[in-house]
C-alpha cells in the first residue's frame, strides 16, 4: 500500500506522492471480470507492442492499448477505468487481427468500458450518444448538410432507417430501457459527472 506523506501542502504532497506499484493495488477479480466479459485470454499478453503499432488511435492520441492490456494483467482496475484514454479505441479490430498471442485487445477494451459504466465512469459524449440513439435510433442522426448531399446524389433525404420508419423507435427504446441505459445516462449527465 502506498505510504501517505504529510507535508501540510497538497501540491507538494501530490508531486512527491508514492509512485511504487504495490501488489495490493491489484484487484485480481478485475482480470477475471475482463476475461469473462471479453471472452478472450487477456492474461496472456506479453507486451510485444503489435497492438499499439497497429492502432490508428495511438499516433493521434495518448491512448496505448498495450498499456490497458498490462493494467488488465496486473488487475489495476482503478488505473484502467479512470483513464479517459479508455474511450479512444475506434473498434477497428486491427490489433485483434495481428496480436501474436491471439488475444482480442478490442474486446478487452469493450469489457473495461462495460465495467467502467458500472462505476458511472463514462465520458459525456458517450452518454449523449445513448440519448441520441434512444430518441432517434441513430448515434449520429441525419442533419441538413447530409440531407442536401443525399438529395444531390439522387437519394431520398432520409435513409430507410428509423429516420424513414420512426415507428420502430419504441422497439429500440424498449431494449435500452431493459438495460436502464437511458435512465443511467440521464442521471449521470444530470449529476454533472465526467
Amino acid at each position: 500500500m502506498a505510504t501517505d506523506k504529510n507535508y501540510g501542502n497538497p501540491e507538494l504532497e501530490n508531486k512527491l506522492r508514492d509512485r511504487y506499484y504495490y501488489t495490493t493495488d491489484s484487484n485480481p477479480e478485475f482480470l477475471e471480470d475482463v476475461k469473462t466479459l471479453s471472452r478472450t485470454i487477456a492474461h496472456m499478453c506479453f507486451q510485444c507492442g503489435t497492438c499499439t503499432g497497429s492502432c490508428p488511435s495511438a499516433p493521434r492520441s495518448s491512448y496505448r492499448i498495450r498499456l490497458f492490456m498490462r493494467r488488465g494483467v496486473l488487475g489495476l482496475e482503478q488505473e484502467a477505468l479512470n483513464d479517459p484514454d479508455l474511450w479512444l479505441c475506434t473498434t477497428c479490430y486491427s490489433c485483434t487481427d495481428r496480436c501474436p498471442r491471439d488475444i482480442a485487445p478490442t474486446d478487452v477494451i469493450m469489457a473495461m468500458r462495460n465495467l467502467a459504466f458500472k462505476y458511472d465512469i463514462v465520458p459525456r459524449n458517450f452518454l449523449k450518444t445513448v440519448q441520441l440513439i434512444y430518441n432517434t435510433g441513430h448515434g449520429v442522426p441525419n442533419n441538413d448538410v447530409n440531407r442536401a448531399a443525399r438529395v444531390k446524389l439522387g437519394l431520398t433525404a432520409d435513409p430507410p432507417t428509423t429516420h424513414g420508419y420512426p415507428e420502430f423507435i419504441p422497439g429500440i427504446q424498449k431494449i435500452m430501457d431493459h438495460y436502464e441505459m437511458k435512465d443511467n445516462a440521464d442521471r449521470i449527465l444530470a449529476e454533472g459527472g465526467q
Binding site: 506479453f46 507486451q47 510485444c48 507492442g49 503489435t50 497492438c51 499499439t52 503499432g53 497497429s54 492502432c55 495511438a58 499516433p59 496505448r64 498495450r66 498499456l67 486491427s94 495481428r98 496480436c99 501474436p100 498471442r101 491471439d102
Partner: protein, 674 residues
C-alpha cells in the same frame, strides 16, 4: 501355458514418489488393501522405490517371502520398468515376473484434488496388476547380433559430424543426402555467430573429410525408399536418383577407363536451359546441368531432368574421353544393412509471405535472413555486395524484424515456439552491414534478445556498442512507397510507450523455421514420433535427448527442434556415441514379447500370415502338419495376429489372453468371484 502349477506369492511395493503420489492419495490404505488381495503375501511402501534402498526392499522381500511375482505401484514404466526389472532379477526371480501399476501419471497427477477418488482408483490399479502378476511366466529375452554399420540421413553439419564420429570409431557409415552435395544450410551461411568465422571455411574441411574417410560411404542425391527391420538389423532401401552424370568410379564400372565427371564444367557452359539456383534461393541462375556452388562435394555435375531438353550439347562438350554424361540414366536402388540410424534432416523457413502484414514477396526490398546470408556472402550472387533487389542500390537503413512468425499463436504458418537462432543471426547481420557499408544503421525490432549461449550476451553487447539501434516492439506491419520502394515499418517503442513509423531502405525478416515437408514420411518409415510442434520426438527431453522411442534410431540437429550450430554439433556427437554403443556391444536383447504358435491348436489356415504388418509369420510343415511359425526377431508383439486367430492358437508372450482376461475381470468384478 504354466507348467507345474505354482501357488502365486505376490509382493506389492507402493511408492510415495516424494509427495507426487503420497500427496494425493492414501498410501497406507492402498497397502492395507493390497494385503487382502488373493496371492499377495507382502506389501511395503517407501518414499522412493527407485532409490537404492527402495530397490533392495524388493530384492530382500523376494528372498524373505519367497515371492514369485512383483508389483510396483509407482510412476510410468517408460523410465523405471528397467529399474524394477533389475531389482526383481537381483532378488533371484526372472525379470519378467514384474508388473507395474502407474498410480502417478495415470492417477495422482490427474486426480490431485480428489483424495478419496484417487485412493480408490489406486486400489483398482493395484488389484488389476496383481491379477496379471499371478499369471506371469518366466521369459527369456532374445539376443540378436548387430550389423557393424550405421546410416546417417542428412548431410548438413549435424549429419556430417555424426558420420565422422561413427566412422572414426571404426564403424562403416552410410551418409545419405537428398541434395547433390553435402553441407546443408550451413554452407549457405556467410559468417557464423558469435565468433564471426567464415561458415564455408570451417565447414569445407568436414565436407572434404566425409568424402574421403575410408569408413564413410557417401550417397548424395539419394533418398530413403523403405526401412525394414529392428535395432541391430535394419535393411534400408536407398533410391539413387538419376543424376545424369557418372562419377569416375561409376564410369570405370561401365568400362570407361579414366572417364567420368572431373568437375570441369564444360557441359554447363553449353547448356541452353537456364533455371533459378535453389542454393542461391533463386537469386542466381543455373543451367539444367549444374553444381550448387564451387565447393560442392562430391564435385559432380547433376542434370535436372525436369528442365533438361535432351539437346545433347553437354554430351558433346564433355567429350569422348570422359563420357561422363548419360541422358538416359534412371533411378537405381540399393539395399544397405545397418545396425543403427541417425536422422539429421534439418529444417526449412516457413513460407513467411503468408504473414501478409510484412509484405514478403509483395515488396521487393523485404527479404529473409537466409537471402541476406547469400547477398552478403562473397561467393553469393552479388559477390558479397548487399543491394536492394528493387534498384540495385546499397541500403543504408536496414530493419531487422525478429520473431517473424515465431512465438506466434495465431495458427496458419505461424509457430508458437522460439526458433532459437534468429536473435543471434540478426545481431550478426547488423554487424555485417555496419562493417561493410559505411554509414549503414541497423534497426533491430525485437521482443526479447535471446542471447543465451556461451559468449552470446557478449556478442549482443558488442553489436550495441558498434551502433546498432534496438527497438523493443514487434513489427505490426510494413508499407511500401510504390515509387521509391522504401519501406515504412510500424511498431510501438514499448519502452517509450510511443508508436513508431520508420522509413527503411530494406527489411530483413528473421523468419521462423519448421520441419522439412518430407520429415513426415521419413518419420513414419523409421517409426519415430513427432512432438506437438511437429519436430521429431526424442525419447526423453532431458535424459535421452538423442534417442527415440524406436530402439536403434537417433536424432541429431534441427530436425529434433530449433538449435544453432554448436548445439547441433553437440547433439550429433551425442547421437553418434549412442548409435555406436549397440554396434560395439555386438548384440542387443529384444523384449521377448513375440507371438508364439501353439502348434496343437493351429489349423494351418494361414490367415494370420498376411495380417502381420512386419512380415514375421509364415506357414511351415511340422510333424506332417501345416502350422504357422513366427520369426521372433521380426515380430514386434503388436498382437494383430493374436487377436485375430480364430482357433486361439497364437499366444502373445507377456500379454497372454488369460493374463489380459484376468486384468479385465479384476477390474469389472472388483475383486469378486473370477
Amino acid at each position: 501355458m504354466a507348467e507345474a502349477k505354482e501357488q502365486p506369492r505376490i509382493g506389492v511395493f507402493i511408492c510415495h514418489c516424494g509427495t507426487n503420489i503420497a500427496g494425493s492419495l492414501s498410501i497406507e490404505e492402498v497397502k492395507e488393501y493390497a494385503m487382502t488381495l488373493p496371492g499377495v503375501v507382502a506389501a511395503e511402501e517407501y518414499q522412493y522405490m527407485c532409490s537404492t534402498p527402495g530397490q533392495s526392499l524388493i530384492a530382500d522381500a523376494i528372498a524373505e517371502h519367497k515371492l514369485n511375482g512383483v508389483v510396483v505401484a509407482a510412476c510410468s514404466p517408460r523410465l523405471h520398468e528397467p529399474t524394477f526389472r533389475t531389482a526383481t532379477q537381483e532378488g533371484g526371480l526372472n525379470k519378467f515376473r514384474f508388473e507395474m501399476a502407474n498410480i502417478r501419471d495415470q492417477n495422482s497427477w490427474v486426480h490431485m484434488h480428489d483424495w478419496e477418488g484417487a485412493t480408490s482408483k489406486a486400489k483398482d490399479q493395484v488389484r488389476i496388476a496383481v491379477a496379471k502378476a499371478r499369471l506371469l511366466e518366466d521369459l527369456e529375452p532374445k539376443s540378436v547380433p548387430v550389423e557393424h554399420a550405421a546410416l546417417v540421413l542428412g548431410a548438413g553439419v549435424g549429419g556430417m559430424q555424426a558420420a565422422l564420429d561413427l566412422a572414426s570409431a571404426g564403424i562403416k557409415t552410410y551418409l545419405v543426402d537428398k541434395d547433390p552435395t553435402v553441407g546443408g544450410r550451413m554452407s549457405q551461411l556467410d559468417k557464423t555467430f558469435p565468433t564471426l568465422d567464415c561458415s564455408q571455411c570451417i565447414l569445407t574441411p568436414k565436407m572434404v573429410d566425409v568424402g574421403r574417410h575410408p569408413n564413410i560411404e557417401l550417397r548424395t542425391f539419394t533418398e530413403v525408399e523403405n526401412v525394414e527391420g529392428y535395432i541391430g538389423n535394419f535393411t534400408i532401401t536407398l533410391r539413387k536418383k538419376a543424376r545424369g552424370v557418372l562419377s569416375p568410379a561409376e564410369a570405370e564400372e561401365r568400362g570407361i577407363v579414366g572417364g567420368g565427371c572431373n568437375g570441369c564444367g564444360d557441359c554447363s557452359e553449353v547448356c541452353p536451359v537456364i533455371k533459378p539456383n535453389p542454393f542461391e534461393l533463386g537469386m542466381a541462375p543455373r543451367k539444367a546441368i549444374y553444381i550448387y556452388h564451387p565447393q560442392v562435394n562430391p564435385l559432380l555435375y547433376t542434370i535436372d531432368f525436369d528442365s533438361c531438353v535432351k539437346c545433347g550439347l553437354c554430351v558433346t562438350a564433355c567429350g569422348e574421353e570422359k563420357k561422363a554424361i548419360d541422358l538416359d540414366m534412371v533411378d537405381t536402388f540399393e539395399q544397405v544393412k545397418v545396425g543403427t540410424c541417425i536422422l539429421a534432416i534439418g529444417y526449412d523457413l516457413i513460407p513467411i509471405e503468408e504473414k501478409t502484414e510484412w509484405g514478403y514477396k509483395r515488396y521487393d526490398n523485404v527479404i529473409t535472413g537466409l537471402e541476406f546470408e547469400r547477398l552478403i556472402c562473397a561467393s553469393g550472387p552479388t559477390g558479397g555486395k548487399l543491394i536492394r533487389p528493387s534498384d540495385g542500390q546499397i541500403p543504408k537503413k536496414i530493419g531487422f524484424v525478429l520473431c517473424a512468425g515465431s512465438r506466434d499463436n495465431t495458427g496458419g504458418v505461424a509457430k508458437p515456439y522460439c526458433s532459437r537462432f534468429c536473435c543471434m543471426y540478426s545481431l550478426k547481420h547488423a554487424h555485417q552491414i555496419m562493417e561493410k557499408i559505411p554509414g549503414a544503421v541497423p534497426y533491430i525490432f525485437y521482443m526479447d534478445i535471446r542471447s543465451f549461449g556461451k559468449m552470446y550476451e557478449e556478442f549482443y553487447y558488442r553489436i550495441q556498442n558498434e551502433g546498432a539501434k534496438f527497438i523493443r516492439g514487434r513489427v505490426a506491419n510494413i508499407l511500401e512507397d510504390p515509387s521509391s520502394k522504401n519501406l515504412t515499418v510500424f511498431t510501438e517503442d514499448t519502452l517509450l510507450g510511443r508508436p513508431l513509423s520508420l522509413e527503411m531502405d530494406m527489411v530483413v525478416l528473421a523468419a521462423a523455421i519448421q520441419p522439412k515437408p518430407e520429415a513426415e514420411r521419413i518419420r513414419q518409415m523409421f517409426g519415430v514420433s513427432k512432438s506437438q510442434d511437429g519436430w521429431l520426438l526424442e525419447a526423453h527431453p532431458k535424459l535421452n535427448p538423442c534417442g527415440t522411442t524406436t530402439a536403434g534410431i537417433y536424432l541429431a540437429g534441427v530436425c529434433q527442434g530449433p538449435k544453432d550450430i554448436p548445439d547441433t554439433v553437440a547433439q550429433a556427437e551425442g547421437a553418434a556415441s549412442a548409435a555406436s554403443i549397440p554396434i560395439h556391444t555386438g548384440e542387443v536383447q529384444l523384449e521377448p514379447y513375440f507371438a508364439q504358435c501353439v502348434d496343437e491348436l493351429c489349423a494351418g489356415c494361414g490367415m494370420c500370415v498376411n495380417l502381420c504388418p512386419y512380415g514375421a509369420l509364415a506357414l511351415v510343415e511340422k510333424n506332417g502338419r501345416t502350422v504357422m511359425e513366427v520369426t521372433e526377431a521380426k515380430c514386434k508383439g503388436c498382437g494383430t495376429c493374436g487377436g485375430f486367430c480364430p482357433g486361439g492358437a497364437i499366444k502373445m508372450q507377456h500379454f497372454t489372453s488369460p493374463q489380459i482376461c484376468a486384468q479385465i475381470d479384476a477390474f469389472l468384478l472388483e475383486g469378486g468371484e473370477q
